[in-house]
Symmetry: C2
Subunit: 189 residues, 2 copies
Amino acid sequence: MTTFEQQIKNVFGVSNTEMTVIQSFFKPKVLQKGDYFIKSGQTSGNLGFLQKGMLREFVVVGDKEITKWISTEGSFVVDLKSFVFKEPARWNMQALTYVELLVLQTSDYHKLTDAIPHWPEIEKMFIAKCFTIIEERVLQHLSLTADERYNQLFAYNKHLFNQVPLQYFASMLGMTPETLSRIRRKSSS
Amino acid sequence: MTTFEQQIKNVFGVSNTEMTVIQSFFKPKVLQKGDYFIKSGQTSGNLGFLQKGMLREFVVVGDKEITKWISTEGSFVVDLKSFVFKEPARWNMQALTYVELLVLQTSDYHKLTDAIPHWPEIEKMFIAKCFTIIEERVLQHLSLTADERYNQLFAYNKHLFNQVPLQYFASMLGMTPETLSRIRRKSSS
DNA sequence: CGACCCACTTGACAAATATCAATAAATCAG
DNA sequence: CTGATTTATTGATATTTGTCAAGTGGGTCG
């Protein structure tokens, strides 16, 4: 079973038959480092599954870029505002490396709903899961120090810290690169 | 049209016929100040519509309470983790005042799905909307100063600041009551 | 009325974080 | 490989925020 199949089954909890149908609607797509999967402000009806590589999700606020998240192999990438409501995307999603995606387009999305009647239910669960995760992240900002936020992120993503520029993690954590650097020095000693 | 009807129609975008069906599944419930609608750790299959009064959503972290949100008249209140996944609730939801709710229970929820086939789709949109809102809140923590976060919250909720203890707003904004007090003094001069 | 309980404010000080500037290390292009 | 560019670290300093302690004022209730 491919990572894609595993993830679809884990995240959406579907049968093998449904799996085959779902899979048939996702088309391969390749991005070179620096290419955009989604651009903020442009409407995108694309839901991607990240097979290989990493994407950075960010917006430009004033004169700086704010990185919301780094998506890694095996995860889904989508701008919900754009995908669900067909409004301009909130986020930029740019390839940090060479990237291979499997992409579901809105048009095929409707066929998917026809082929698998309880797809909206599946999707509801997916989005609800996303909600509880991001809600937890808000709580982290309300209850943890910069130190603690870093250590929590690092504990679950050790392998990423030598692949991704640290400044992006600093932004994700809501601190300057200098502060992150100092926290890391303290934590490693 | 009641606030409830308006909100259901706004949020879920349903017809009048469907509206009647939906409405029939929501049962009135009253809370006294201090009562809990949901308790963290207990599974609750309840989705509430807040007709009157205010609820505070918080968790206890270490030795302090972290307030995530104050819900006001006309909004829906639910612990998604509990409602969607039937797991223990993440949040406490406690009445800040005398409260009147309309409550949908999980059992009736299934009947609702039977009566309105595209209910999961409707619900998906609702949750997706919640997601985009909370995602924006994460961004605020990554990109704004304490000052700016306060001013933004205050701009949209002026009327609340003389009804709700300020310490709860301080917690929602991720700062101490002392800091909020000083920011307010600065902002008002 | 008066004692008490809250929530809020204020001040003094400590700790955390940002800013600015310089340097070192890593990465990339030719 | 080498120079150029980006990224990371470090130091000095300023700003922001937290902590602790004291004081104020409104509300409640015997």
